[in-house]
Symmetry: C2
Subunit: 343 residues, 2 copies
């Protein structure tokens, strides 16, 4: 039973109507066109019997719309981040009957250009331009002529809609956790973002500073280190050996938190008894530490979903820059008044 291609014509024939009528019915315009109930019944029967499926390609040629969005991102691979954005985007796309075609540029502008063209050739209805980490970017010129939404990045030179996490508010949240817990000793920040054009680190730090200032406190020091586990371990270990005695630590991401945990343990310091720790990202890693580290989470799923929604939005052009809140993932890494959950 090699299912032959069934066309609208076949359906119309079997139902004894014209393709026009069949087309109207299948596009839900039977009421509008006042198609007879009987014709409709016959067409639907034919569709079911023949197993007819419309050829979207042919339809697209006519309608100039493909129900497909393109997603251009620098890295689809690294960590569960980009992929969670994809998952959110994918779900949102389905909600509006779209499919996603993806392209990974690996940060290569030439490849990026190529992929964008490929997508345009396929007549995608819009493009989500995403970066793995929050970045200030200059989008390729061709995107400016299209229905585009930036995901996890912004281009200050254009007013293309953009969706990204509210890092500043996240920073405030993190600092607030320490304050609410009554941490009175020194509060330090671990990790300074070395990536050029990165938005996360500066935003978080700014939020932290602002919140502390409101309480008449301040960041005692910022320990610089790259955002990797080993980097953080090395930096924090050296720092502790030099005699640092922090009461609260704000790690700018979960990998830093992990390295920090290792360094604290190595120096006989216990979390949260001796030191309270709050982190950022809210990745799985945060839940793997003992005790689980309180982490201000990146809402990746929502980011992806929101970006696609912006693409679908009739008011797309005026969406502007959307900043999504970073929810708090609970843990046992902060002393006293508690932020719930198992440690």
């Amino acid at each position: 039973m090699t299912t032959k291609k069934v066309t609208l014509t076949d359906v119309a024939e079997r139902a004894g109507v014209s393709t026009t009528t069949a087309s109207y019915i299948l596009n839900g315009r039977s009421a509008e066109m006042r198609i007879s109930a009987d014709a409709e019944r016959r067409v639907r029967e034919a569709v079911a019997h023949l197993g007819y499926r419309p050829n979207r390609n042919a339809r697209s040629l006519r309608t100039r719309t493909t129900s497909t969005f393109g997603v251009i991102s620098d890295f689809v691979a690294s960590g569960h981040f980009a992929s969670q954005m994809l998952a959110g985007a994918s779900a949102a796309a389905r909600a509006s009957e779209h499919l996603l075609v993806i392209g990974e540029t690996q940060g290569d502008p030439a490849l990026e250009h190529l992929l964008i063209e490929e997508m345009l050739d396929r007549q995608v209805d819009g493009i989500v331009y995403a970066t793995l980490t929050s970045l200030e970017v200059r989008v390729p010129a061709e995107l400016k002529r299209l229905r585009t939404v930036l995901l996890n990045c912004v281009d200050p030179t254009t007013n293309i809609p953009a969706v990204l996490p509210d890092e500043y508010a996240g920073g405030r949240t993190a600092a607030g956790v320490l304050l609410d817990a009554g941490v009175t000793g020194e509060i330090h920040v671990i990790g300074e973002d070395p990536t050029p054009n990165a938005l996360a680190g500066p935003g978080r730090l700014e939020g932290i500073r602002a919140r502390l200032a409101e309480a008449g406190r301040s960041v005692t020091s910022v320990v610089p280190c790259h955002w990797g586990v080993e980097d953080a371990y090395d930096a924090v270990d050296a720092w502790l050996r030099r005699g640092a005695r922090p009461a609260g630590l704000l790690c700018l991401n979960d990998r830093i938190a992990m390295g920090t945990y290792q360094a604290l343990a190595g120096n006989g310091l216990h979390v949260p008894r001796d030191v309270s720790v709050v982190s950022f990202d809210g990745s799985e890693l945060a839940t793997w530490l003992r005790p689980r580290v309180v982490s201000v989470a990146l809402p990746f799923n929502e980011l992806g979903a929101r970006a696609v929604q912006a693409l679908v939005d009739p008011g797309w052009a005026d969406v502007g820059t959307v900043r999504l809140p970073m929810p708090l993932a609970p843990g046992g890494s902060v002393r006293s008044p508690a932020v719930g959950a198992r440690g």
Copy 2:
């Protein structure tokens, strides 16, 4: 300068030739058709000048091929695994001028069915059916009528080509590391795969057993636990408290290794001085542990790439089941003769 849609006709007109000629030239058939060098030059000039790009949709309607593959997977989101497969697949797709359209089923058969139909409606040239973890599956019937390749799963009831990691060989590798290092005491396995139809755990265990048997050794015990960090911690901690004194530990994945590390540390056991540890997956997590745990890696990128290559392969139907080797990711978790790298 709102770039108007430029068609082949426009190009032909400007070049002073027929669309036929232009089409031949743009499809690289000018030699075959013995088109005059001058006509070719003029057409290329017109293309460049007009910024012409072929409408692949229109082309597809004619050629019945879309240069697009579909990827159906249960979870695109969870961890960096599926996404690495995607990255590999994406790169391989580009190599053969294809783009990927993705669909995440979340394990829901109804949704799966829907997504497959959506892809078929868009006339994809083939479908990669992927699972996040190695699984024995029953593929939906409709896929059997298509150019499909299974990724990270197999369906023993069909002979659809499949690409997955060679877990058995991986198990042998892991056991070999311990043997080569001269570990003479008890060797235990941590983690027994509770997932029904899972392939990874059983395959790895079988390989481990086989390799040890060859050396006249055997697995002293298999400590059962779910494949999560906390599960492993709890199980291993309790087990150690009961007096276990392992010399070598084979953790069935990296998360288990992490929990195991925590439990060992909590019981005053040092890696690798007191216990040698080897793990599976080769995820980033493996590199974050101190010392870095030796891990038999899942070649996710290659898996994805190979799957797409199989789809492109003219001999697709006869690809059969491909098992890719699991390379060893070095670390400092095994005593003596060393497996290179920083700990």
